[in-house]
Point group: C2
Chain length 328, copies 2
């Protein structure tokens, strides 16, 4: 790896601060209780990877900050709205170590707050006054819903194919990274082939990001994750590490029996979850899944060859590496 | 009233059929169970008043059917998505005499189906490739959420002002009629002052429509409504007829006590609801509220003077009259 002269988060810090300010402004609601809860969620928003990808995708071309910041704030709010509905659907009590809205508002209020943030994100997309950006934004929202419906209806089968898994995580996670990169490139005025290359970069980065998310859910402890470890298993959601682990088991084994019972929801006691988590950890499946994520990061980087500006290319590579190296 | 040579629903039947086809196409989901449930909801969609307003607002100018049908389908799906979330929030079991999604899918699936239809409606708005239409669409979604948040947090007070009530029903209902008229006028290429006049027509029509909805909830029986009568009271939601009724009661009266107990949610037994409904019916409050709706219909019609085409003006007047005359 070549020596890096600048860190991507440092380099982009000031521009991301503009995004944060726009997000905070759009997330203001007229009801003090709701507004302070939404403000907390938005401020707890982590690394702002999606806005970062959007800004950087524009940076290699004509870097007009104003429309890029507007679209980036829209993408971050779309992500936030989607997390709020997701946590409500999963009845999750914790995210990033903090209580979710579920523990503080009625389910109905949580749905409305999510809808409100969807509306705000759509207004930000519309404020770019770029019909193509708006079209990407709307179809990304469609992809996210498709991925979430697939997770709900299709993710509880141990016999799902890799294609089914990837289609699902593309919708749920990678579509927004792909859309963010595409919107940034469009707003930067990139040539058509570069727009497509950056979209592909985002898609592959997003797949790697979600695979690592699925690995971390099984590899890390609750304290590290800020939410209960083995959460996917507890929901009966079969992710890549679990699929790779299942493929190593003889059908007639006690390990396979426990796994099937957990995925079917017949067992959700802490002992059963802990047993499956321990077996997955010692099976090598987490290492294999990480290797799959690594290969997606490499493919993401390969799409960056199109980007003319070397410094921007290097910053986008760092984001891809971060997806793999992150621990929460 | 002048003799009408043509009925608005007959005149617009073929164009509304195009809207229906576009709505049905956009509401198709990849999961057979969900798709058939969503299809049922969409087909049960009533009179398509919002698409009708949108089409008619364009009809007086350049009537290019394609973008108008696209936007009208977007408006109808936005309305449907919003009803699905609303029913989920209210835990309603019936709408238009049919079981809601709540009785057939998990709460999480219902939220996702609503989100999916939001996404589809946003894609239709984007497909008009008109940035102003997209901006109206997005801000309308924001207004709807604002109205629903107000209904949740602010509607359970007997001392609310008329301004608070109207702001709330503007967001919840009138904003979409206003937005539909505005989008139709924009797509028809109407002059700026006509766009504003048609938006005002839609807003006043929508206020009348919601006031009549609130009247019908108290005036009609369960069989007629297709959902339990007195539903607003049961939810503790104070609407215009209830406000007008409350204003007639001495603070220290048994009627006022029962009303306060019902609105506070301290009593929700059928006897208490029936007692308040009967008192409101015999108080004259329904007649007074209908008169308020009538005055909004007149104000809606006054905004139509701007529309150059007499036939279109007549059709839009019929829609306004229908809002008042409807019985469900």
């Amino acid at each position: 790896m070549k020596v890096r002269t600048q860190d991507v988060f440092e380099t982009m810090h000031a521009d991301l601060a503009h995004v944060d300010a726009r997000v905070a402004q759009a997330a203001t609601v007229d009801f003090p209780i709701v507004s302070s809860l939404v403000g907390e969620i938005v401020r707890a928003g982590g690394k702002r990877l999606r806005p970062l990808v959007l800004l950087l995708a524009g940076r290699g071309y004509h870097y007009h900050l104003e429309p890029l910041v507007t679209a980036a704030a829209g993408v971050e709010l779309l992500h936030t709205a989607s997390l709020i509905h997701d946590d409500n659907i999963d009845r999750a009590a914790l995210r990033r170590g903090k209580a979710t809205l579920n523990s503080k508002l009625s389910s109905g209020a949580v749905i409305l707050v999510g809808d409100f943030l969807f509306a705000q994100s759509a207004m930000l997309a519309a404020a770019t006054e770029n019909t193509r950006v708006v079209a990407v934004f709307a179809s990304t929202l469609g992809d996210i819903c498709d991925g979430q419906l697939r997770e709900m209806f299709d993710a509880h089968r141990l016999d799902q194919t890799r294609e089914e898994y990837e289609r699902r995580i593309f919708g749920k996670t990678a579509s927004l990274f792909a859309g963010a990169a595409e919107m940034g490139a469009i707003l930067g005025g990139a040539p058509e082939s570069d727009i497509q290359a950056l979209r592909d970069y985002g898609a592959h980065l997003g797949l790697a990001f979600q695979i690592m998310d699925d690995v971390l859910d099984l590899r890390e402890d609750t304290a590290e994750l800020g939410k209960p470890a083995g959460n996917d298993l507890r929901q009966g959601t079969v992710t890549l590490p679990t699929m790779l682990y299942a493929a190593t088991l003889p059908a007639a084994s006690s390990e396979a029996d426990v796994l099937r019972a957990v995925v079917a929801g017949d067992r959700d006691d802490p002992a059963a979850i802990a047993e499956v988590v321990a077996s997955i950890r010692s099976s090598g499946a987490l290492v294999s899944a990480t290797a799959v994520a690594q290969s997606y990061v490499e493919r993401a980087k390969a799409h960056l060859l199109a980007v003319p500006d070397e410094e921007t290319r290097d910053l986008l590579e760092q984001v891809a590496d971060f997806a793999l190296a992150r621990s929460t």
